[in-house]
Amino acid sequence: MDELIEILKDLHSDVDFDTCTTLIDDKILDSFDIVSIVSEVNDRFDVAIPAKELVPENFNSAKALWDLISRLEED
């Protein structure tokens, strides 16, 4: 999780990713950020996030994103 927060902080250092649950709804993350995150996650966790998972529910919070990575790792 810490590594994921580090990736997110790299994009928006001013956001509290531990508590924020409206990253997409409040337009904090945009489509460019999402692509960067997917690419970083693929690099560091060796997990490929498919396009169908790129929905707001999976990116609204760091926890939701972490849950997605864990689910994909299990698959």
């Binding site: 489509s31 960067s36 690419s39």
Partner: protein, 527 residues
Amino acid sequence: MLFTSLPFIVFVAALILVYYAFTPYKERWALLLMASLAFYFFADPRYLIFIGVTALTAYVFAIITEDYNAKRKAYLKANKESFDTDSKKKYKNTTARVTKLLMLLALLINLGILAVTKYTNFVIDTMNSWRTEPLSFVNIIVPMGISFYTFQTVSYSIDICRGTIKAQRNFLKFLLFVSFFPQLVQGPISRYEDLSQTLYEPKKFEFQNVSYGFMRILWGYFKKLVVADRLVIALKTLTESPDEYKGAYVFVVMMLYAAQLYCDFTGGIDITIGIAQMLGITVKENFNLPYFSKNIKEYWNRWHITMGTWFTDYIFYPLSVSPTMLKLSKWSRQHLGNAVGKRVTVYISCFAVWLATGIWHGAAWHFVVWGLMNFVVIMASQELEPVYAKFHGKFHLKEKKGYAIFEIARTFLLMSSLKLFDCYRDVGLTFKMFGSMFYTFNIGKLFNGSLLELGLTSADYEVAAIAIVFIFLVSLYKALIGEDIRVFLYQKYPLFVLVCVVLLVSTLVFGAYGAGFDASQFIYNQF
């Protein structure tokens, strides 16, 4: 049957009456289908063949895909003991590959129809520019709204492949999704998961819903007929004689076209959403105060929203996260550094999106260049973001109210200048005309009565100006209060009725259909 024609208004009024007064609730979708097919039939009976084939293709492939997936899943479940982790993964991968192949076949057919009907003559024209013996153009019909309904079926096929929606098993119901007449003319591009929620089981008659829809329709006609169709006269004169109207006139073109396109496109969408709302159907919003945007990215999140999200979900994301792109990103990070590696997927995918957006808008090079210019501006502003942030921080600009107005004006001017490609419809000419603003100093001409020689009288300018101020104030209300003005008006119902009467009378009195005017086709109808 134009949205602005009397037969269309009579058609919609009769439909709403029959819909609520004589059609059982469960059969209403069937009436809508008949109305949609009739609407298309009266436009040109041949269109029905095209839309029918497109709908049938998406429908059949969706059912084959869903049935195939269900069978494979059931087999896996029934025989799970005989599968180990590796063989299970292999089995799942084979299923995914076949599903993808089925989707690609559906897309190939439907996008193929779009490509052949819309782009054959564009390709011939481009080839003729280097051929000594020119090829002759083919006489091919372009069905009304083909780009809109094709994109709807493409998103349906992809969503079925992804397993995010369930296939519609009733072909007639599916045909209604593809052909729903209010959005055939100029969108929005609806998704099956959104539109199907109310299309087959619409809201029952609600006075408030019908009132809101009715006012929205009047608002759309007001924008279209009082402003858009009036300004188009002057725009035609200005852009058809570019040698005569250079310099400051190009700025006038920018301003007039910004107002004209906004009123034309949003007016049409208002009519679409209004009709749907009167029928108890929810259609997605396509605009959210685009001229209040502070940067180009925000602008494209607010203008033609359903098109933007379509390109993001079905081109930008799949391309960016494809295995090839991820490999390319990894390779770039290792060999060219983190900065390049981070950007490479975004740049390539964004380029593809804007190339496709340009081509989608029309079969002409000026649309392609317009799309790519948007790409250049978006990427430039993306790269300059840290510089802006530093600048804003140093001078505390974000805290100053005036700076927000500056940002809005800057974005408006930038986007309006890109729209010049659509005005002059020639890449070289557009650059030349844009440049003339900086070297032809003829601003004085604007004040010597020459604007009254463009086909509009001073009364026309006054009417358009008052209407634009009125539209601006309504938009400002939404921007400041965060709520549609109809909510406020409905609470004071006599006022609501009064505004409807004012809109109706002012559209009838000041609408541009007198001598010299002709209620013109919606601009986005050609897409």
